[in-house]
């Protein structure tokens, strides 16, 4: 039987250009490391089966198994996944609003959960001194605030979970991109051996994502204007076509097309825009609702925390207009179509759709 460990991980995923640097494969064993936007093999692992391969979101993914685990029903092939409720929301906390990308809902929910003792820590992304994103566990509001905002870069967030000591009993919240959530979901389906209990992750928040940028974009921007004082990056929605850099005093922009060389190619094979396996998915409120988040509630756990937070006035909500929802669904569907097309271009035919465990029916529908 062909082995499925680190060697195969490189053959089937990394060398094929599918790796989105989610970090699901490392932080647990000494054989894999992360350096300058690459997963690196340090030593030769001779195992025939490894967790690195098993939990990678770009190896064979049993969507039904995940759906059963998270939602209790089979995979539904919906454009934005299982969505109990979709609405707009934002934080009521002024400090969070200032630091937030859009509505501050993620920071708000996690801060609320921390304060209430529902979780002991939140697995987040934090920028190091060289502004490189890493996985980080925030254990209080201050630390959480430091992680607020979007970096637009891939972040190996899952390493923070992977190298938790086996005995850890900390209840955790988690925020990540769709690929992070997919990897985490695989872990929930088959809990990893010799590690901290994956059931400790009580709340999973997924962010909407189209693609990420490689770190080089910083230097590119810096050649245009001084980004050392930047406090936020933002990509405003249609009809704008720019990448905005905010400082305390002003905003600078470049045309979005200029950043296309930095778009990570691996993202073009990604099937999930809205993080379909999270408890709650959060995205921008789009141009119409600047300063708000679009929120999708998927599970009971997600609904519960949102109700409690709303009841305590930590966040406020409003209805999402029908056409906004339509646009969202269309955008998500487009991503699926593009991903499938790119995958088929790579493999040469619909017989091999790489990691996507989707039905022939869905394939046909998407290709129409």
């Amino acid at each position: 039987m062909e082995g499925k460990a680190s060697k195969e991980l490189f053959k089937d995923v990394i060398d094929k250009g599918l790796c989105t640097l989610c970090g699901g494969c490392f932080g647990f064993c000494p054989y894999l490391a992360f350096h300058t936007e690459r997963i690196v093999r340090l030593h030769q692992c001779t195992l025939s089966e490894g967790q690195c391969y098993q939990y990678c979101p770009r190896t064979s993914t049993d969507l039904n198994a995940i759906n059963q685990q998270v939602f209790g029903v089979p995979y539904g092939e919906d454009e934005i996944g299982i969505a109990k409720k979709v609405f707009l929301a934002r934080s009521t906390d002024k400090e969070i609003q200032q630091k937030a990308q859009d509505g501050g809902v993620v920071t708000s929910l996690l801060s609320f959960a921390l304060t209430e003792g529902m979780i002991d820590g939140a697995v987040e992304t934090k920028l190091d001194d060289e502004k490189v994103p890493h996985g980080f566990i925030a254990r209080n509001r201050e630390e959480l605030l430091e992680c607020a905002g979007v970096s637009y870069e891939p972040s190996p967030v899952l390493e923070a979970i992977n190298h938790l000591p086996k005995e850890s009993t900390e209840k955790l919240g988690f925020v990540g991109l769709p690929c992070h959530v997919a990897s985490l979901s695989k872990m929930k389906v088959s809990p990893p051996a010799n590690r901290a209990n994956i059931e400790n992750v009580k709340l999973t928040i997924g962010l909407f994502c189209g693609w990420t940028l490689s770190h080089g974009f910083h230097q590119f921007l810096h050649n245009r204007f001084d980004i050392s004082k930047a406090i936020k990056f933002d990509i405003p929605h249609h009809p704008a076509h720019s990448f905005d850099v905010y400082t305390k005093s002003e905003t600078q922009s470049v045309d979005l097309d200029e950043l296309s060389p930095f778009i990570n190619k691996a993202c073009s094979y990604c099937f999930d825009m809205t993080a379909e396996f999270s408890d709650i998915s959060v995205g921008s409120g789009r141009t119409m609702f600047k300063g708000w988040n679009t929120v999708i509630i998927r599970t009971k756990a997600g609904a519960e925390i949102l109700e409690i937070a709303k009841g305590r006035h930590a966040i406020e909500t409003q209805h999402i207009p029908a056409d906004s929802l339509t646009n969202l669904k269309r955008a998500s569907l487009n991503k699926k179509k593009k991903a499938l097309q790119n995958i088929i271009s790579m493999t040469g035919g619909i017989d091999d759709v790489l990691y996507l465990g989707i039905s022939q029916n869905l394939i046909n529908t998407l290709l129409e």
Binding site: H35, R38, V40, H43, T46, R195
Partner: protein
């Protein structure tokens, strides 16, 4: 262990071949001894240095063999008997000076002792240095026993003085490291006075002597050298170290030298061929004692040459046989050319027995092979025995250094590599050094070749290059290569693995250790100060801090280029243990935390980290510390991904 300074002529001491050489030098009234560590020669200086002050002579571990030999020559040009000892590769290093020394000759006796390593057990190569004697017309003596090591070294000084030229005494590892009964002779009590006589003659400036009276005309000096050398032939012809043992007319004449004589003599005994086979021992193998050889050659139809490694004596005798008058029947010559004697590697008793038996057309059965059942049983079990490959000692800082180097090269991801050098660091080629060394040549070779790689950028070369050398090697040979790299702006990193010792050869001191051969203290030469004075960026780190060392290497590799130096400094564990006499930590494995073969570990410690003190318990499926071997350095605790290896301060 042995007492070589004892003044008791006629008594017996139990000496190593190398100790006997040292004693021979003492009995010859030596005043000056120099060496650079090199197995199998190191014991000569290690024996002489501690007694130098007491016995009234000067002894020094020089920075390299070239300087050692030059210094010894100075003494011999100044009325002081001098000796310089080295391994075969050292002769390569002194070759240029030696060529020129032959042009001038010497005053008082100068003896060059060379210890070869047939089989290359302790060397980067296998080398027979004897041909250099023929090339440069140097009298060459080959002792065969510990007693001869002493007696022939002593004689070499006399011979050197009588001829006015350096004399070479050649030993091999099997002789240098053999201990035997040695009967001592007298120790001279003559006072030594040094003076260099070739001074400026103000009244006759044109006639001022120039080192031993030679004028500076190379062709004239060549002529002089040949004249001197013919005198050597006369003296060596009658040497008592050439001898014959066997029947008057031997069916087979074995011509042999060095330790191979003892193999030959014993082989003849074992084969019970004492009345058919004669053994001719040559104590002087260059110039060939032709008269002596001719006498016995004429009485035998078969000649077998037993020597190591090259067919040196074989070829000399062949030349001689070719010159015999045409009416003489030529004997059949057996040796390396005919394939009867192995032409590579060391000789041993078994091989010589086989060679003689095959020439004589007989078969030999040993005590083992006579019993078929025994032979079979023993062969079966032998095939199942695991080998013992070389490893870094438990606690060795090089294990940590190469671990960090490997991590850094993998993280960097541009297929960078290590150019290696001689010494303990050479084991970077194999498992204990994570198989990191990719090139391996001679002393200083690492930095030199790295300097070349560092200039290939214009052809698209992007692979980072790390030259690795030890502290003693750095002083011996790496400095010119480093300066060349800096001056020519070559892109490479020189990693000096400074464990404060010349470890591989037995912990001899060097300018960086602050102790001299005689035990006296000296001002340490600071490697980083030396490097910084060359204007190069120097980082110093502790290899046991693997994280920091890896980060430093990555930083250097990602840097703008040019030559950079990193010193990975931590004391050799054997030196530390010998001094402190206790472990740093008590180590143990917490079995409940060890996940061994499971994903997340895959036996990283036993399979890849590779320390002999950390063993794999197959039955329990866990790692375990072997207390009898573990040095207690604590490094493995940082390697274990599960934190299962515990270190407790002692």
């Amino acid at each position: 262990m042995s007492n070589i300074e004892i003044d008791a002529p006629g008594t017996t001491q139990f000496l190593l071949g190398n100790e006997a050489i040292a004693r021979g030098a003492l009995e010859a009234g030596i005043g000056f001894a120099t060496a650079y560590p090199g197995t199998p020669s190191s014991e000569i200086m290690a024996t002489l240095a501690p007694i130098a002050k007491k016995m009234g002579f000067y002894a020094e571990w020089s920075i390299n063999e070239m300087v050692a030999f030059e210094a010894a020559s100075a003494a011999s040009l100044s009325n002081i008997r001098a000796l310089s000892s080295m391994k075969a590769n050292g002769v390569n290093v002194i070759a240029d000076f030696l060529v020129n020394l032959q042009m001038t000759g010497v005053g008082k006796g100068l003896v060059l002792v060379v210890c070869d390593d047939p089989g290359g057990m302790t060397s980067s190569n296998e080398q027979d240095t004897r041909p250099i004697a023929k090339w440069l017309n140097i009298p060459l003596l080959e002792p065969s026993t510990a007693q001869e090591c002493k007696d022939m070294t002593k004689w070499a000084f006399d011979l050197s003085e009588e001829l006015g030229m350096v004399c070479m005494v050649r030993s091999v590892i099997y002789l240098s490291h053999t201990r035997g009964n040695v009967r001592l002779d007298q120790l001279p009590k003559k006072k030594k006075e040094a003076y260099f006589a070739d001074i400026y003659d103000l009244d006759n400036p044109r006639q001022s002597r120039f080192t031993c009276g030679m004028q500076f005309h190379p062709y004239k000096q060549s002529e002089e050298l040949l004249k001197k050398f013919s005198k050597a032939s006369e003296k060596c012809e009658s040497s008592p170290f050439n001898c014959y043992e066997g029947p008057d007319k031997a069916e087979l004449l074995i011509i042999t030298s060095g330790i191979c004589w003892t193999y030959s003599v014993e082989a003849v005994k074992i084969l019970n061929l004492q009345d058919k086979v004669g053994v001719l021992k040559l104590g002087v193998t260059w110039p060939l004692p032709e008269g002596f050889v001719k006498k016995y050659l004429e009485r035998s139809q078969k000649i077998l040459f037993v020597e190591e490694i090259a067919p040196f004596v074989e070829r000399s005798v062949m030349e001689f046989v070719a010159n015999l008058p045409p009416d003489r029947t030529r004997p059949t010559l057996y040796g390396k050319r005919s394939g009867h004697v192995r032409a590579w590697g060391e000789q041993n008793l078994d091989l010589v027995i086989q060679s003689i038996a095959s020439v004589m057309g007989i078969t030999y059965q040993s005590r083992q092979s006579r019993s078929v059942e025994y032979s079979q049983k023993v062969r079966e079990i032998s095939q199942t025995l695991p080998n013992r490959p070389l490893t870094f000692c438990p606690g060795c800082p090089h294990r940590a250094s190469f671990w960090a180097i490997k991590n850094a090269l993998q993280l960097d991801g541009r297929n960078g590599f290590v150019t290696g050098d001689i010494g303990c660091t050479a084991m970077g080629m194999i498992s204990p050094g994570s198989f990191q060394v990719r090139t391996y040549y001679a002393m200083g070779g690492g930095v030199g070749i790295a300097g070349g790689f560092g200039h290939l950028g214009q052809f698209g070369f992007t692979q980072p290059v790390i030259a690795v050398c030890g502290d003693s090697t750095f002083f011996h040979a790496s400095i010119p290569g480093l300066i060349n790299g800096i001056w020519n702006q070559s892109n490479f990193i020189l990693a000096i693995l400074d464990n404060d010792a010349t470890a591989m050869t037995g912990f001899q001191p060097h300018p960086g250790t602050g102790v001299k051969a005689t035990g006296e203290l000296g001002e340490k030469v600071s490697i980083e100060a030396l490097c910084r004075s060359l204007g190069v960026n120097v980082e110093v780190c502790n290899p046991f801090d693997i994280k920091k060392t890896t980060a430093t290497l990555l930083k250097l590799m990602a840097g703008v280029g040019g030559t950079q130096v990193v010193i990975m400094r931590r004391e050799c564990e054997l030196v530390r243990a010998r001094r402190d006499r206790k472990k740093l930590y008590q180590m143990y494995v917490e079995p409940n935390r060890c996940i061994g073969e499971a994903c997340g570990c895959n036996r990283l410690c036993a399979r890849i980290f590779s320390c002999p003190g950390l063993v794999w318990d197959r039955e329990a499926g866990k790692a375990k510390i072997d207390d009898a071997v573990c040095a207690g350095c604590g490094l493995c605790a940082d390697i274990c991904p599960q934190g299962a290896i515990i270190r407790e301060a002692v």
